[in-house]
Subunit: 296 residues, 2 copies
Protein backbone atom coordinates (compact mmCIF):
# COMPACT_ATOMS: atom_id res chain seq x y z
CA UNK A 1 0.00 0.00 0.00
CA UNK A 2 1.29 3.45 -0.91
CA UNK A 3 0.12 6.44 1.15
CA UNK A 4 -0.27 10.05 0.01
CA UNK A 5 -0.56 13.21 2.11
CA UNK A 6 -2.71 15.73 0.19
CA UNK A 7 -1.21 18.73 2.03
CA UNK A 8 2.24 17.98 0.65
CA UNK A 9 1.17 17.14 -2.91
CA UNK A 10 1.09 19.34 -6.00
CA UNK A 11 -2.56 20.18 -6.71
CA UNK A 12 -2.19 18.76 -10.24
CA UNK A 13 -1.09 15.36 -8.91
CA UNK A 14 -3.79 15.32 -6.22
CA UNK A 15 -6.43 16.22 -8.83
CA UNK A 16 -5.23 13.37 -11.05
CA UNK A 17 -5.27 10.87 -8.16
CA UNK A 18 -8.81 11.87 -7.10
CA UNK A 19 -10.12 11.58 -10.68
CA UNK A 20 -8.39 8.24 -11.20
CA UNK A 21 -9.90 6.75 -8.03
CA UNK A 22 -13.43 8.18 -8.05
CA UNK A 23 -15.33 6.90 -11.05
CA UNK A 24 -17.27 6.25 -13.15
CA UNK A 25 -18.66 9.80 -12.87
CA UNK A 26 -21.95 10.90 -14.49
CA UNK A 27 -21.75 13.86 -16.86
CA UNK A 28 -23.85 17.03 -16.64
CA UNK A 29 -23.98 19.05 -19.84
CA UNK A 30 -24.88 22.37 -18.24
CA UNK A 31 -26.73 24.97 -20.28
CA UNK A 32 -26.66 28.47 -18.76
CA UNK A 33 -27.21 32.01 -20.01
CA UNK A 34 -25.44 35.32 -19.29
CA UNK A 35 -27.38 38.44 -18.26
CA UNK A 36 -26.83 39.64 -21.88
CA UNK A 37 -28.61 36.49 -23.07
CA UNK A 38 -25.60 34.59 -24.51
CA UNK A 39 -26.00 30.81 -24.00
CA UNK A 40 -23.17 28.68 -22.63
CA UNK A 41 -22.78 24.91 -22.69
CA UNK A 42 -20.14 22.92 -20.81
CA UNK A 43 -19.77 19.38 -19.45
CA UNK A 44 -19.00 18.64 -15.80
CA UNK A 45 -18.25 15.30 -14.17
CA UNK A 46 -18.09 16.67 -10.62
CA UNK A 47 -21.81 15.99 -10.65
CA UNK A 48 -24.47 13.75 -9.15
CA UNK A 49 -27.99 13.53 -7.74
CA UNK A 50 -28.07 14.00 -3.95
CA UNK A 51 -31.72 14.05 -2.96
CA UNK A 52 -35.12 13.12 -4.37
CA UNK A 53 -37.21 15.18 -1.93
CA UNK A 54 -36.48 17.98 -2.68
CA UNK A 55 -34.95 16.88 -6.02
CA UNK A 56 -31.42 18.31 -5.83
CA UNK A 57 -28.58 17.81 -8.33
CA UNK A 58 -25.14 19.26 -7.55
CA UNK A 59 -22.30 19.99 -9.94
CA UNK A 60 -19.07 21.91 -9.63
CA UNK A 61 -17.65 24.26 -12.27
CA UNK A 62 -14.31 24.35 -10.41
CA UNK A 63 -11.71 27.12 -10.70
CA UNK A 64 -9.16 26.28 -13.39
CA UNK A 65 -6.06 24.53 -12.04
CA UNK A 66 -3.69 26.24 -14.50
CA UNK A 67 -4.54 29.93 -13.95
CA UNK A 68 -7.19 30.01 -11.18
CA UNK A 69 -9.77 31.63 -13.47
CA UNK A 70 -13.49 30.83 -13.18
CA UNK A 71 -15.59 29.22 -15.90
CA UNK A 72 -18.35 30.91 -17.91
CA UNK A 73 -20.89 28.46 -16.47
CA UNK A 74 -20.10 29.68 -12.96
CA UNK A 75 -20.17 33.35 -13.99
CA UNK A 76 -23.49 32.91 -15.79
CA UNK A 77 -25.10 31.22 -12.80
CA UNK A 78 -24.03 34.14 -10.58
CA UNK A 79 -25.82 36.42 -13.08
CA UNK A 80 -28.83 34.20 -13.87
CA UNK A 81 -29.28 31.46 -11.22
CA UNK A 82 -30.82 28.88 -13.53
CA UNK A 83 -29.44 25.88 -15.41
CA UNK A 84 -30.62 23.10 -17.69
CA UNK A 85 -28.71 19.92 -16.86
CA UNK A 86 -28.71 17.84 -20.03
CA UNK A 87 -27.79 14.17 -19.67
CA UNK A 88 -25.06 12.81 -21.96
CA UNK A 89 -25.44 9.56 -23.85
CA UNK A 90 -23.36 7.77 -26.45
CA UNK A 91 -24.90 9.54 -29.45
CA UNK A 92 -23.83 13.00 -28.27
CA UNK A 93 -20.48 12.12 -26.69
CA UNK A 94 -18.22 13.90 -29.18
CA UNK A 95 -20.39 17.01 -29.31
CA UNK A 96 -20.26 17.08 -25.50
CA UNK A 97 -16.45 16.78 -25.58
CA UNK A 98 -16.26 19.58 -28.16
CA UNK A 99 -18.32 21.81 -25.83
CA UNK A 100 -15.54 21.55 -23.25
CA UNK A 101 -13.19 23.59 -25.47
CA UNK A 102 -12.36 27.04 -24.12
CA UNK A 103 -14.54 29.11 -26.41
CA UNK A 104 -14.42 32.88 -25.93
CA UNK A 105 -17.20 34.43 -23.87
CA UNK A 106 -19.94 35.67 -26.18
CA UNK A 107 -19.77 32.66 -28.50
CA UNK A 108 -23.04 30.69 -28.72
CA UNK A 109 -21.63 27.28 -27.78
CA UNK A 110 -24.86 25.42 -28.49
CA UNK A 111 -24.57 26.43 -32.17
CA UNK A 112 -20.80 25.99 -32.18
CA UNK A 113 -21.11 22.30 -31.25
CA UNK A 114 -24.09 21.70 -33.50
CA UNK A 115 -26.88 21.05 -31.01
CA UNK A 116 -30.49 22.10 -31.50
CA UNK A 117 -31.70 24.40 -28.73
CA UNK A 118 -35.23 24.21 -27.36
CA UNK A 119 -36.92 26.79 -25.14
CA UNK A 120 -37.36 25.71 -21.55
CA UNK A 121 -40.84 25.85 -20.03
CA UNK A 122 -39.90 27.56 -16.76
CA UNK A 123 -36.40 29.06 -17.05
CA UNK A 124 -34.33 31.14 -19.46
CA UNK A 125 -31.45 28.75 -20.37
CA UNK A 126 -32.12 26.55 -23.38
CA UNK A 127 -32.52 22.77 -23.43
CA UNK A 128 -30.52 20.52 -25.80
CA UNK A 129 -32.94 18.63 -28.01
CA UNK A 130 -30.46 15.80 -28.68
CA UNK A 131 -29.99 15.04 -24.94
CA UNK A 132 -32.15 12.10 -23.76
CA UNK A 133 -33.07 13.74 -20.42
CA UNK A 134 -33.20 17.48 -19.73
CA UNK A 135 -33.59 18.85 -16.20
CA UNK A 136 -34.83 22.43 -15.90
CA UNK A 137 -33.39 23.69 -12.60
CA UNK A 138 -33.33 26.74 -10.39
CA UNK A 139 -30.09 27.35 -8.50
CA UNK A 140 -30.93 27.88 -4.86
CA UNK A 141 -27.44 27.86 -3.37
CA UNK A 142 -23.80 28.26 -4.47
CA UNK A 143 -20.97 27.22 -2.14
CA UNK A 144 -17.38 28.16 -2.96
CA UNK A 145 -15.11 25.54 -1.43
CA UNK A 146 -11.96 27.69 -1.73
CA UNK A 147 -10.37 30.50 -3.74
CA UNK A 148 -7.20 28.79 -5.02
CA UNK A 149 -6.63 26.90 -8.29
CA UNK A 150 -8.86 23.80 -8.68
CA UNK A 151 -11.18 24.90 -5.87
CA UNK A 152 -14.71 23.57 -6.32
CA UNK A 153 -17.84 25.72 -6.63
CA UNK A 154 -20.94 23.77 -5.66
CA UNK A 155 -24.05 24.61 -7.65
CA UNK A 156 -27.22 23.35 -5.92
CA UNK A 157 -29.71 22.80 -8.75
CA UNK A 158 -33.31 22.07 -7.73
CA UNK A 159 -35.22 20.25 -10.45
CA UNK A 160 -38.38 22.09 -11.60
CA UNK A 161 -39.23 20.04 -14.67
CA UNK A 162 -37.91 16.93 -16.41
CA UNK A 163 -38.10 16.20 -20.15
CA UNK A 164 -37.38 12.64 -21.33
CA UNK A 165 -37.13 11.19 -24.85
CA UNK A 166 -40.07 8.76 -25.03
CA UNK A 167 -38.05 6.04 -26.77
CA UNK A 168 -35.99 5.38 -23.59
CA UNK A 169 -39.01 4.98 -21.29
CA UNK A 170 -40.63 1.62 -20.56
CA UNK A 171 -44.33 1.06 -19.88
CA UNK A 172 -43.95 2.04 -16.20
CA UNK A 173 -42.36 5.40 -17.21
CA UNK A 174 -38.98 4.14 -15.95
CA UNK A 175 -35.84 4.79 -17.95
CA UNK A 176 -34.57 1.64 -19.68
CA UNK A 177 -30.92 1.37 -18.63
CA UNK A 178 -29.92 -0.23 -21.93
CA UNK A 179 -31.80 2.18 -24.16
CA UNK A 180 -30.56 5.45 -22.63
CA UNK A 181 -26.92 4.44 -23.40
CA UNK A 182 -25.29 6.58 -20.72
CA UNK A 183 -21.62 7.51 -20.89
CA UNK A 184 -19.44 8.21 -17.83
CA UNK A 185 -16.14 9.88 -17.07
CA UNK A 186 -13.04 8.20 -15.65
CA UNK A 187 -9.50 9.45 -14.91
CA UNK A 188 -7.21 10.94 -17.57
CA UNK A 189 -8.77 10.99 -21.04
CA UNK A 190 -10.87 7.87 -20.33
CA UNK A 191 -14.62 7.45 -20.76
CA UNK A 192 -16.90 4.48 -20.09
CA UNK A 193 -19.87 3.20 -22.09
CA UNK A 194 -22.52 2.30 -19.50
CA UNK A 195 -24.60 0.00 -21.69
CA UNK A 196 -24.51 -3.33 -23.50
CA UNK A 197 -22.40 -6.05 -21.89
CA UNK A 198 -20.96 -3.55 -19.39
CA UNK A 199 -24.24 -3.64 -17.41
CA UNK A 200 -25.52 -6.34 -15.08
CA UNK A 201 -28.04 -6.60 -12.25
CA UNK A 202 -27.49 -7.45 -8.59
CA UNK A 203 -30.51 -7.86 -6.33
CA UNK A 204 -30.76 -6.01 -3.02
CA UNK A 205 -29.27 -8.13 -0.20
CA UNK A 206 -31.40 -10.06 2.29
CA UNK A 207 -31.75 -8.05 5.49
CA UNK A 208 -31.76 -11.31 7.47
CA UNK A 209 -28.60 -12.64 5.77
CA UNK A 210 -26.44 -15.00 7.83
CA UNK A 211 -23.28 -12.92 7.25
CA UNK A 212 -19.63 -13.94 6.97
CA UNK A 213 -19.48 -14.66 10.72
CA UNK A 214 -21.78 -17.67 10.20
CA UNK A 215 -19.80 -19.17 7.31
CA UNK A 216 -18.11 -22.44 8.41
CA UNK A 217 -14.36 -21.91 8.74
CA UNK A 218 -13.39 -24.31 5.92
CA UNK A 219 -15.63 -22.35 3.53
CA UNK A 220 -14.51 -18.92 4.79
CA UNK A 221 -10.85 -19.87 4.31
CA UNK A 222 -11.34 -21.50 0.89
CA UNK A 223 -8.48 -20.89 -1.52
CA UNK A 224 -10.93 -21.30 -4.41
CA UNK A 225 -13.90 -19.16 -3.43
CA UNK A 226 -13.46 -15.38 -3.83
CA UNK A 227 -14.82 -12.61 -1.59
CA UNK A 228 -17.62 -12.16 -4.15
CA UNK A 229 -18.46 -15.90 -3.96
CA UNK A 230 -18.47 -15.87 -0.15
CA UNK A 231 -20.67 -12.75 -0.09
CA UNK A 232 -23.30 -14.54 -2.18
CA UNK A 233 -23.19 -17.51 0.21
CA UNK A 234 -23.36 -15.17 3.24
CA UNK A 235 -26.36 -13.36 1.75
CA UNK A 236 -28.61 -16.42 2.26
CA UNK A 237 -31.13 -16.28 5.09
CA UNK A 238 -30.56 -19.89 6.09
CA UNK A 239 -28.32 -22.87 5.34
CA UNK A 240 -29.68 -26.12 3.80
CA UNK A 241 -30.39 -28.75 6.47
CA UNK A 242 -28.64 -32.12 6.78
CA UNK A 243 -31.43 -34.05 5.01
CA UNK A 244 -31.27 -31.76 1.96
CA UNK A 245 -27.48 -31.94 1.90
CA UNK A 246 -27.51 -35.75 2.08
CA UNK A 247 -30.07 -36.06 -0.68
CA UNK A 248 -28.10 -33.69 -2.93
CA UNK A 249 -24.89 -35.58 -2.14
CA UNK A 250 -26.43 -38.89 -3.22
CA UNK A 251 -28.22 -37.62 -6.31
CA UNK A 252 -25.88 -34.93 -7.68
CA UNK A 253 -22.43 -35.34 -6.15
CA UNK A 254 -21.91 -39.12 -6.15
CA UNK A 255 -19.55 -39.14 -9.13
CA UNK A 256 -17.37 -36.42 -7.54
CA UNK A 257 -17.24 -38.34 -4.26
CA UNK A 258 -16.37 -41.61 -6.06
CA UNK A 259 -13.68 -39.93 -8.16
CA UNK A 260 -11.84 -38.63 -5.07
CA UNK A 261 -12.84 -41.40 -2.65
CA UNK A 262 -9.43 -41.79 -1.07
CA UNK A 263 -8.14 -38.23 -1.27
CA UNK A 264 -9.96 -35.78 1.01
CA UNK A 265 -7.91 -32.69 0.00
CA UNK A 266 -8.60 -33.32 -3.70
CA UNK A 267 -12.27 -33.98 -2.96
CA UNK A 268 -12.50 -30.64 -1.10
CA UNK A 269 -10.92 -28.80 -4.03
CA UNK A 270 -13.30 -30.50 -6.46
CA UNK A 271 -16.32 -29.59 -4.33
CA UNK A 272 -15.22 -25.96 -3.96
CA UNK A 273 -14.67 -25.68 -7.74
CA UNK A 274 -18.11 -27.20 -8.33
CA UNK A 275 -19.66 -24.76 -5.83
CA UNK A 276 -17.89 -21.80 -7.47
CA UNK A 277 -19.34 -22.85 -10.80
CA UNK A 278 -22.84 -23.09 -9.30
CA UNK A 279 -22.45 -19.64 -7.71
CA UNK A 280 -21.45 -18.14 -11.06
CA UNK A 281 -24.70 -19.53 -12.46
CA UNK A 282 -26.70 -17.95 -9.62
CA UNK A 283 -27.50 -21.31 -8.00
CA UNK A 284 -26.52 -20.40 -4.43
CA UNK A 285 -28.60 -23.08 -2.71
CA UNK A 286 -26.96 -25.97 -4.56
CA UNK A 287 -23.55 -24.36 -3.98
CA UNK A 288 -24.28 -24.43 -0.24
CA UNK A 289 -25.29 -28.11 -0.39
CA UNK A 290 -22.13 -28.93 -2.34
CA UNK A 291 -19.90 -27.24 0.23
CA UNK A 292 -21.69 -28.74 3.25
CA UNK A 293 -21.52 -32.24 1.73
CA UNK A 294 -17.78 -32.39 2.39
CA UNK A 295 -18.11 -32.74 6.16
CA UNK A 296 -21.45 -34.53 6.09
CA UNK B 1 -40.68 13.97 -25.52
CA UNK B 2 -42.48 13.26 -22.25
CA UNK B 3 -42.40 15.89 -19.50
CA UNK B 4 -42.61 15.35 -15.73
CA UNK B 5 -43.42 17.85 -12.99
CA UNK B 6 -41.55 16.78 -9.80
CA UNK B 7 -43.99 18.64 -7.52
CA UNK B 8 -46.87 16.44 -8.64
CA UNK B 9 -45.02 13.11 -8.65
CA UNK B 10 -44.85 10.43 -5.98
CA UNK B 11 -41.38 10.67 -4.36
CA UNK B 12 -40.76 7.00 -5.19
CA UNK B 13 -41.33 7.60 -8.92
CA UNK B 14 -39.24 10.78 -8.92
CA UNK B 15 -36.41 8.94 -7.11
CA UNK B 16 -36.54 6.18 -9.69
CA UNK B 17 -36.49 8.65 -12.61
CA UNK B 18 -33.52 10.57 -11.17
CA UNK B 19 -31.54 7.36 -10.59
CA UNK B 20 -32.36 6.04 -14.05
CA UNK B 21 -31.16 9.24 -15.75
CA UNK B 22 -28.11 10.17 -13.70
CA UNK B 23 -25.43 7.55 -14.05
CA UNK B 24 -23.04 5.84 -13.97
CA UNK B 25 -22.54 6.88 -10.32
CA UNK B 26 -19.34 6.17 -8.36
CA UNK B 27 -19.73 4.21 -5.13
CA UNK B 28 -18.45 5.30 -1.71
CA UNK B 29 -18.17 2.49 0.81
CA UNK B 30 -18.34 4.67 3.91
CA UNK B 31 -16.76 3.44 7.15
CA UNK B 32 -17.87 5.34 10.24
CA UNK B 33 -17.89 4.73 13.99
CA UNK B 34 -20.43 5.46 16.73
CA UNK B 35 -19.47 7.27 19.93
CA UNK B 36 -19.56 3.82 21.60
CA UNK B 37 -16.94 2.64 19.09
CA UNK B 38 -19.15 0.34 16.95
CA UNK B 39 -18.04 0.44 13.29
CA UNK B 40 -20.54 0.86 10.46
CA UNK B 41 -20.08 0.24 6.76
CA UNK B 42 -22.51 1.22 4.02
CA UNK B 43 -22.36 1.99 0.29
CA UNK B 44 -23.61 5.26 -1.20
CA UNK B 45 -23.91 6.24 -4.86
CA UNK B 46 -25.03 9.81 -4.17
CA UNK B 47 -21.29 10.50 -4.14
CA UNK B 48 -18.54 12.25 -6.06
CA UNK B 49 -15.38 14.35 -5.84
CA UNK B 50 -16.12 18.09 -6.04
CA UNK B 51 -12.82 19.87 -5.48
CA UNK B 52 -9.10 19.12 -5.51
CA UNK B 53 -8.00 22.21 -3.54
CA UNK B 54 -9.16 21.68 -0.85
CA UNK B 55 -9.77 17.98 -1.61
CA UNK B 56 -13.51 17.57 -0.91
CA UNK B 57 -15.64 14.48 -1.49
CA UNK B 58 -19.39 14.66 -0.87
CA UNK B 59 -21.84 11.83 -0.29
CA UNK B 60 -25.41 11.66 0.91
CA UNK B 61 -26.79 9.12 3.37
CA UNK B 62 -30.34 10.18 2.51
CA UNK B 63 -33.40 9.71 4.76
CA UNK B 64 -35.15 6.45 3.93
CA UNK B 65 -37.97 6.83 1.43
CA UNK B 66 -40.16 4.17 3.05
CA UNK B 67 -40.27 5.36 6.69
CA UNK B 68 -38.25 8.63 6.78
CA UNK B 69 -35.72 7.19 9.24
CA UNK B 70 -32.03 8.18 9.10
CA UNK B 71 -29.15 5.81 8.40
CA UNK B 72 -26.52 4.67 10.89
CA UNK B 73 -23.82 6.31 8.76
CA UNK B 74 -25.51 9.68 9.18
CA UNK B 75 -26.05 9.18 12.91
CA UNK B 76 -22.45 8.10 13.42
CA UNK B 77 -21.08 11.14 11.59
CA UNK B 78 -23.16 13.42 13.82
CA UNK B 79 -21.48 11.69 16.80
CA UNK B 80 -17.96 11.29 15.37
CA UNK B 81 -17.42 13.59 12.34
CA UNK B 82 -14.96 11.37 10.53
CA UNK B 83 -15.27 8.86 7.69
CA UNK B 84 -13.10 6.55 5.60
CA UNK B 85 -14.39 6.52 2.03
CA UNK B 86 -13.34 3.19 0.56
CA UNK B 87 -13.48 2.86 -3.22
CA UNK B 88 -15.38 -0.14 -4.65
CA UNK B 89 -13.95 -2.30 -7.41
CA UNK B 90 -15.08 -5.50 -9.07
CA UNK B 91 -13.43 -7.84 -6.55
CA UNK B 92 -15.44 -6.48 -3.61
CA UNK B 93 -18.75 -5.79 -5.37
CA UNK B 94 -20.83 -8.46 -3.64
CA UNK B 95 -19.40 -7.72 -0.20
CA UNK B 96 -20.27 -4.05 -0.81
CA UNK B 97 -23.82 -5.00 -1.80
CA UNK B 98 -24.12 -7.18 1.32
CA UNK B 99 -23.08 -4.19 3.46
CA UNK B 100 -26.19 -2.34 2.23
CA UNK B 101 -28.45 -4.74 4.16
CA UNK B 102 -30.26 -3.17 7.10
CA UNK B 103 -28.20 -4.64 9.93
CA UNK B 104 -29.24 -3.70 13.46
CA UNK B 105 -27.29 -0.90 15.12
CA UNK B 106 -24.50 -2.37 17.25
CA UNK B 107 -23.56 -5.03 14.68
CA UNK B 108 -19.96 -4.79 13.41
CA UNK B 109 -20.75 -4.64 9.70
CA UNK B 110 -17.11 -4.86 8.63
CA UNK B 111 -16.92 -8.34 10.18
CA UNK B 112 -20.44 -9.24 9.04
CA UNK B 113 -19.52 -8.76 5.38
CA UNK B 114 -16.10 -10.36 5.73
CA UNK B 115 -13.76 -7.41 5.20
CA UNK B 116 -10.44 -6.96 6.99
CA UNK B 117 -10.30 -3.72 8.95
CA UNK B 118 -7.13 -1.64 9.21
CA UNK B 119 -6.48 1.20 11.63
CA UNK B 120 -6.51 4.64 10.04
CA UNK B 121 -3.49 6.89 10.58
CA UNK B 122 -5.37 10.06 11.50
CA UNK B 123 -8.99 9.21 12.34
CA UNK B 124 -10.99 6.69 14.37
CA UNK B 125 -13.04 4.87 11.68
CA UNK B 126 -11.35 1.81 10.19
CA UNK B 127 -10.14 1.38 6.63
CA UNK B 128 -11.12 -1.64 4.49
CA UNK B 129 -7.97 -3.49 3.48
CA UNK B 130 -9.61 -5.06 0.40
CA UNK B 131 -10.58 -1.65 -1.06
CA UNK B 132 -8.09 -0.42 -3.70
CA UNK B 133 -8.18 3.23 -2.52
CA UNK B 134 -9.03 4.41 1.00
CA UNK B 135 -9.61 8.10 1.78
CA UNK B 136 -9.26 9.13 5.44
CA UNK B 137 -11.53 12.16 5.81
CA UNK B 138 -12.65 14.67 8.39
CA UNK B 139 -16.25 15.87 8.04
CA UNK B 140 -16.23 19.66 8.09
CA UNK B 141 -19.86 20.32 7.16
CA UNK B 142 -23.22 18.53 7.05
CA UNK B 143 -26.14 20.03 5.12
CA UNK B 144 -29.64 18.58 5.49
CA UNK B 145 -31.55 19.19 2.27
CA UNK B 146 -34.94 18.49 3.81
CA UNK B 147 -36.72 16.57 6.57
CA UNK B 148 -39.13 14.43 4.55
CA UNK B 149 -38.69 10.90 3.17
CA UNK B 150 -35.78 10.60 0.66
CA UNK B 151 -34.32 13.99 1.68
CA UNK B 152 -30.56 14.12 1.14
CA UNK B 153 -27.97 14.79 3.85
CA UNK B 154 -24.77 16.15 2.36
CA UNK B 155 -21.60 15.02 4.11
CA UNK B 156 -18.62 17.23 3.18
CA UNK B 157 -15.58 14.96 3.62
CA UNK B 158 -12.16 16.64 3.41
CA UNK B 159 -9.42 14.18 2.48
CA UNK B 160 -6.59 14.00 5.04
CA UNK B 161 -4.75 10.94 3.74
CA UNK B 162 -5.00 8.57 0.77
CA UNK B 163 -3.97 4.91 0.74
CA UNK B 164 -3.66 3.14 -2.62
CA UNK B 165 -2.93 -0.51 -3.47
CA UNK B 166 0.45 -0.35 -5.23
CA UNK B 167 -0.56 -2.82 -7.96
CA UNK B 168 -2.99 -0.30 -9.51
CA UNK B 169 -0.43 2.55 -9.75
CA UNK B 170 1.73 3.17 -12.82
CA UNK B 171 5.29 4.57 -12.75
CA UNK B 172 3.99 8.16 -12.51
CA UNK B 173 1.93 7.27 -9.41
CA UNK B 174 -1.26 7.58 -11.45
CA UNK B 175 -4.05 5.06 -11.10
CA UNK B 176 -4.26 2.70 -14.08
CA UNK B 177 -7.89 2.88 -15.19
CA UNK B 178 -7.88 -0.74 -16.38
CA UNK B 179 -6.19 -2.17 -13.28
CA UNK B 180 -8.38 -0.53 -10.62
CA UNK B 181 -11.50 -2.20 -12.15
CA UNK B 182 -14.03 0.31 -10.84
CA UNK B 183 -17.71 -0.53 -10.59
CA UNK B 184 -20.52 2.04 -10.84
CA UNK B 185 -24.20 2.27 -10.00
CA UNK B 186 -27.07 2.74 -12.45
CA UNK B 187 -30.84 2.83 -12.00
CA UNK B 188 -32.90 -0.03 -10.54
CA UNK B 189 -30.75 -3.04 -9.60
CA UNK B 190 -28.20 -2.31 -12.35
CA UNK B 191 -24.42 -1.96 -11.98
CA UNK B 192 -21.72 -1.19 -14.56
CA UNK B 193 -18.23 -2.63 -14.90
CA UNK B 194 -15.98 0.34 -15.72
CA UNK B 195 -13.07 -1.62 -17.18
CA UNK B 196 -12.09 -3.82 -20.11
CA UNK B 197 -13.81 -3.09 -23.41
CA UNK B 198 -16.22 -0.68 -21.70
CA UNK B 199 -13.43 1.94 -21.51
CA UNK B 200 -12.02 4.13 -24.29
CA UNK B 201 -10.09 7.38 -24.55
CA UNK B 202 -11.13 10.70 -26.11
CA UNK B 203 -8.57 13.49 -26.32
CA UNK B 204 -9.35 16.98 -25.05
CA UNK B 205 -10.84 19.10 -27.87
CA UNK B 206 -8.85 21.74 -29.77
CA UNK B 207 -9.56 25.18 -28.30
CA UNK B 208 -9.22 26.66 -31.81
CA UNK B 209 -11.64 24.16 -33.39
CA UNK B 210 -13.58 25.36 -36.43
CA UNK B 211 -16.93 24.39 -34.90
CA UNK B 212 -20.16 23.20 -36.52
CA UNK B 213 -20.85 26.70 -37.87
CA UNK B 214 -17.90 26.30 -40.28
CA UNK B 215 -18.94 22.90 -41.60
CA UNK B 216 -20.05 23.16 -45.27
CA UNK B 217 -23.81 22.75 -45.50
CA UNK B 218 -23.71 19.49 -47.53
CA UNK B 219 -21.53 17.91 -44.82
CA UNK B 220 -23.58 19.34 -41.93
CA UNK B 221 -26.80 17.96 -43.45
CA UNK B 222 -25.33 14.54 -44.34
CA UNK B 223 -27.76 11.67 -43.89
CA UNK B 224 -24.79 9.34 -43.33
CA UNK B 225 -22.59 11.22 -40.85
CA UNK B 226 -23.76 11.22 -37.21
CA UNK B 227 -23.45 14.02 -34.66
CA UNK B 228 -20.39 12.22 -33.27
CA UNK B 229 -18.81 12.11 -36.76
CA UNK B 230 -19.52 15.80 -37.38
CA UNK B 231 -18.11 16.75 -33.97
CA UNK B 232 -14.81 15.06 -34.84
CA UNK B 233 -14.72 16.98 -38.16
CA UNK B 234 -15.63 20.24 -36.38
CA UNK B 235 -12.85 19.68 -33.81
CA UNK B 236 -10.13 20.27 -36.42
CA UNK B 237 -8.29 23.59 -36.32
CA UNK B 238 -8.25 23.96 -40.10
CA UNK B 239 -9.63 22.36 -43.27
CA UNK B 240 -7.31 20.74 -45.91
CA UNK B 241 -6.57 23.15 -48.78
CA UNK B 242 -7.56 22.64 -52.42
CA UNK B 243 -4.14 21.28 -53.45
CA UNK B 244 -4.23 18.59 -50.76
CA UNK B 245 -7.80 17.67 -51.63
CA UNK B 246 -6.99 17.37 -55.35
CA UNK B 247 -3.94 15.22 -54.71
CA UNK B 248 -5.93 12.92 -52.40
CA UNK B 249 -8.77 12.75 -54.97
CA UNK B 250 -6.35 11.61 -57.69
CA UNK B 251 -4.34 9.17 -55.62
CA UNK B 252 -6.92 7.68 -53.22
CA UNK B 253 -10.41 8.35 -54.51
CA UNK B 254 -10.07 7.78 -58.27
CA UNK B 255 -11.77 4.38 -58.24
CA UNK B 256 -14.76 5.78 -56.27
CA UNK B 257 -15.09 8.68 -58.70
CA UNK B 258 -14.87 6.35 -61.72
CA UNK B 259 -17.42 3.97 -60.26
CA UNK B 260 -20.05 6.69 -59.87
CA UNK B 261 -18.94 8.92 -62.76
CA UNK B 262 -22.41 9.65 -64.01
CA UNK B 263 -24.39 9.63 -60.79
CA UNK B 264 -23.60 12.53 -58.45
CA UNK B 265 -26.03 11.50 -55.66
CA UNK B 266 -24.56 7.99 -55.51
CA UNK B 267 -21.02 9.43 -55.58
CA UNK B 268 -21.86 11.69 -52.64
CA UNK B 269 -23.24 8.75 -50.65
CA UNK B 270 -20.13 6.70 -51.44
CA UNK B 271 -17.84 9.54 -50.36
CA UNK B 272 -19.75 10.11 -47.11
CA UNK B 273 -19.63 6.38 -46.31
CA UNK B 274 -15.89 6.35 -47.04
CA UNK B 275 -15.41 9.42 -44.80
CA UNK B 276 -17.44 7.83 -41.99
CA UNK B 277 -15.18 4.79 -42.16
CA UNK B 278 -12.06 6.98 -41.99
CA UNK B 279 -13.49 8.88 -38.99
CA UNK B 280 -14.16 5.61 -37.16
CA UNK B 281 -10.46 4.78 -37.66
CA UNK B 282 -9.42 8.17 -36.25
CA UNK B 283 -8.23 9.48 -39.62
CA UNK B 284 -10.03 12.83 -39.55
CA UNK B 285 -7.79 14.61 -42.05
CA UNK B 286 -8.38 12.08 -44.84
CA UNK B 287 -12.10 12.12 -44.01
CA UNK B 288 -12.11 15.88 -44.60
CA UNK B 289 -10.30 15.47 -47.94
CA UNK B 290 -12.79 12.80 -48.99
CA UNK B 291 -15.77 15.02 -48.20
CA UNK B 292 -14.31 18.12 -49.84
CA UNK B 293 -13.42 16.17 -53.00
CA UNK B 294 -17.11 16.00 -53.96
CA UNK B 295 -17.42 19.67 -54.90
CA UNK B 296 -13.81 20.12 -56.00
Amino acid sequence: MKSFDPSSMHVRDLHSLLLGAIGPRPIALASTISKEGVPNLSPFSFFNVFSANPPILIFSPARRGADNTTKHTYENIKEVPEVVINIVNYDITHQMVLSSANFEKGINEIEKVGFTSLDSDLIKPKRIKESPVQFECTVNQVIELGDGPAAGNLIFAEVLKIHVHENILNEQNKIDQQKIKLVGRMGGDTYVNAFGDCLYDIKRPNDDNIGFDHLPKDIRLSKILSGNDLALLANESSIPDETDVNEYKLLDLSSLFMQHEENAPLLEIALHNHAKDLISKGNINDAWKTLLAFNN
